[in-house]
Symmetry: C2
Subunit: 249 residues, 2 copies
């Protein structure tokens, strides 16, 4: 069986997923390393002719990383001619990542649809990468390794989109544990926005959105004064996802 059954795939179309996590005040991105290959890549793949593109994004992510039930958002189609590179395909061939039969498939010109998602980070999380990949790792957005093709630009574009979305969408539900402190939520915002926010004003504003439920519990054991824990009001959160936070007009 050939590596890729390209007869059943949608030609010239690929999907790439930018999976964001958050840990210790840093945005993390999930990247894959192919066997025998020095550059890293985003979890991506091709689209079955008989399946919806949006659905395939989920399937591909599952196949490449083992991640299930991830809500992916389509954010851009990358369609420049120069994003393709024969040299890159030849390198993949030389590294025996793609075989002779697949070469004609890979040498097509591809456009790729970018999807992004926010998922909970766990430092001990084990991913189950596909056979082609030697590892699947979280990397800090500030410290992305050398990526194939335009995958670095795809990451940057996803981050830019996320930054924009932050202004009219709630965020944090999938990024933080079920219960979290106000400082942790603020850190998510500050990290994505790449700028500091006033602690007291942040608290006031986020509480005014009425999406947070203050549990009376405190996180104990940490240094200094024990902070209260909050959790999201799921109904309000999803409502805000649909309607946006600040109407504008």
């Amino acid at each position: 069986m050939p590596l890729i059954t390209y007869q059943t795939l949608h030609p010239g179309l690929s999907i790439d997923c930018v999976i964001f996590g958050f840990y210790q005040k840093e945005i993390k991105v999930l990247v894959l390393k192919l066997k025998n290959f020095e550059k890293w890549s985003l979890p991506g793949g091709f689209v079955d002719q008989t399946k919806d593109v949006d659905d395939e994004a989920t399937n591909i992510l599952k196949r490449r990383t083992g991640l299930k039930n991830v809500f992916l958002r389509q954010f851009h189609l990358f369609g420049d001619v120069k994003r393709n590179s024969d040299a890159h395909i030849n390198a993949l061939f030389n590294s025996k990542i793609i075989d002779n039969d697949s070469l004609i498939w890979f040498k097509q010109r591809f456009v790729t649809v970018g999807y992004y998602a926010l998922i909970p980070f766990s430092p001990s999380q084990i991913f189950t990468p596909d056979n082609l990949s030697e590892s699947c790792e979280w990397r800090s957005l500030k410290d992305i390794p050398e990526m194939i093709l335009d995958h670095k630009e795809i990451i940057d574009s996803a981050h830019k989109t996320l930054k924009k979305e932050l202004n009219y969408q709630p965020i944090g539900l999938n990024l933080l544990p079920e219960q979290f402190t106000m400082s942790e939520l603020q850190a998510v915002y500050e990290t994505i926005l790449e700028k500091p926010l006033d602690r007291r004003n942040f608290r006031r504003k986020i509480l005014n959105f009425a999406m947070l439920i203050p549990t009376k519990k405190q996180r104990v054991g940490g240094a200094y004064r024990s902070p209260y824990l909050y959790q999201f009001d799921l109904d309000k959160y999803h409502l805000a996802l649909q309607n946006g936070l600040s109407s504008g007009w």
Copy 2:
């Protein structure tokens, strides 16, 4: 020469453009009618293998409608399987819009990239549709004729995107004549948002953005009190396009 030189085209990929205009308090959309075919369609087409997708959007719009120098924004990829329809292709074939040689091309499964743009409306504007099309017309968003495939959904999706963009982007520059009254600008907003705005609050808010230059001229000849004319401050406008209007955080 065959109708479509499909050897040079990117397979399974099309582009559709939603061109918005504004006239007499109505949003207009540019639609095409194919010869011998009852349904209407968006100006769309295919992507040359050797060209950037974004550039091809502009080229396609020019080819299908004659419109030049239109700034198109990519907004979504429509990739559901069911958006394709063999029945539709057969109907095109029966209407002699596509010939036997092109049939294999059209019977592929297609995904389409949606672009939208805002352009000035002129009721007397003459479009120069391509050979396949019998006419190219403005139609009110509220009165879109029966469209092929999912083109109606593409229009709705573009409108939804536009509505969202209105909250953090300036708008009107390409939609109104160089000089316009405050009421005309307000009508643009009200029409896109599909809700009335308070005249006095609108004026205050829009002037606070400091993108408008009040000319001291008035529009004379109309009924009732003559309104002042405004024009956009191009520098401020383009700056606001880049940075957004309300930062949010």
